[in-house]
């Protein structure tokens, strides 16, 4: 987590790996003031390497391939991985080595943000 605007507070770092730039734009807006968002394109590149460098608390992807390439990093390094399907509005969360469908409306950036923040809070307080 990084230093937040409130003295002593830290903000979670969220990596957005999006194939649709306007999805990244929407999610960046939704997390404003709540997280430090790092947005990266999904096409090409070494996803695991980028994530090792960023060391995010959560990873959000909008692309099946990016989801699969980010999963091994999350398995070994920890953190939260969320896959938002732009096509059908479903959201999957990767935890305990498996994907689970989340009961949220994936077409709404606020719902995705609430899911991610909720998961992060539970991890901190667990």
């Amino acid at each position: 987590m990084t230093e937040g605007s409130t003295p002593g507070a830290t903000l979670p770092v969220i990596a957005l790996l999006c194939s649709v730039p306007l999805v990244a734009e929407a999610l960046t807006g939704a997390f404003e003031g709540m997280a430090e968002v790092r947005s990266l394109p999904t096409h090409g590149g070494d996803t695991a390497g980028v994530l090792r460098w960023l060391r995010p608390d959560a990873v959000i992807v909008d692309d099946e391939r990016a989801a699969e390439s980010a999963a091994p990093y999350v398995s070994t390094e920890g953190g939260l991985l969320v896959h938002v399907s732009v096509a059908d509005g479903t959201v999957r969360v990767f935890q305990d080595e498996a994907w689970e469908i989340a009961d949220v409306d994936g077409s709404t950036p606020d719902a995705i943000r609430n899911l991610v923040i909720g998961c992060l809070m539970r991890r901190v307080t667990a």
């Binding site: 194939s19 649709v20 730039p21 306007l22 999805v23 990244a24 734009e25 929407a26 960046t28 807006g29 939704a30 938002v84 732009v86 096509a87 509005g89 994936g106 077409s107 709404t108 950036p109």
Partner: protein
């Protein structure tokens, strides 16, 4: 600074939010949002936007139908956007009255460039769709030229041509039209001469171009 009015009509809040966040940051556009066709028509009346960005899948009937309804009624420049749109969808949108087409995977920079260009009267089209549109214009022109030449044929010759295009032989055409095989042969010769074609195959191809493959033998008369 003049802030131009943009309307986004999209059933997905994710995209409306993305555009809202982008335009708020850039500052030279004022945004109105609509989630479906009813909200779109209401917003067009209330806000009179200069540019309307309409989703290809706008509920309930799609963006092309919405553009068809709005084109000619509104001074707004209408742009349809969608995911991996097929050639026919793009052409349908433009034919319905859209002033441009954008892919929803467009970058924020690209979208801003497109919106600012539209304010100057430009037509936004992704590079890969420009070829589609140019090809379509050529197809339309070829069809128009072919239709002009078809006018020189008699009604009976058009019937024969339509059957030739189906691959029918002279005997089959004769039976279908209740005329002699010799008469069919003469009609075919006249058709080739009038259309300046050298073979039945060429005549069939010509017919398909002139009718876009949609006209049956009976309708060709």
């Amino acid at each position: 600074m003049i802030r131009r009015r943009v309307l986004i009509a999209d059933g997905a809040p994710l995209f409306r939010s993305g555009v809202r966040h982008l335009l708020t940051r850039e500052g030279d556009f004022v945004l109105t949002e609509a989630a479906d066709f009813d909200e779109l028509t209401q917003a067009m009346e209330d806000e009179a936007p200069e540019i309307a960005l309409i989703d290809l899948d706008l509920p309930p009937s799609g963006g092309v139908a919405a553009v068809g309804h709005l084109a000619g009624q509104s001074a707004a420049r209408l742009v349809v956007w969608g995911f991996e749109a097929e050639r026919e969808q793009v052409l349908d949108a433009l034919t319905a009255g859209a002033d441009g087409f954008l892919d929803k995977t467009i970058s924020p920079t690209g979208l801003m460039r497109a919106l600012r260009g539209m304010s100057r009267g430009e037509t936004p089209l992704p590079r890969e769709l420009v070829t589609v549109v140019v090809d379509a214009v050529h197809d339309f022109e070829a069809r128009d030229r072919a239709r002009e030449r078809v006018v020189s044929l008699s009604a009976r010759e058009r019937e024969v041509l339509a059957l030739v295009a189906t691959g029918a032989r002279n005997r089959q055409i004769a039976e279908e039209l209740s005329i002699s095989e010799f008469t069919v042969k003469r009609h075919v010769q006249n058709i080739l001469q009038k259309l300046n074609l050298t073979s039945r195959t060429a005549a069939g191809a010509f017919y398909r171009t002139s009718s876009d493959g949609a006209v049956t033998a009976g309708e060709a008369v």
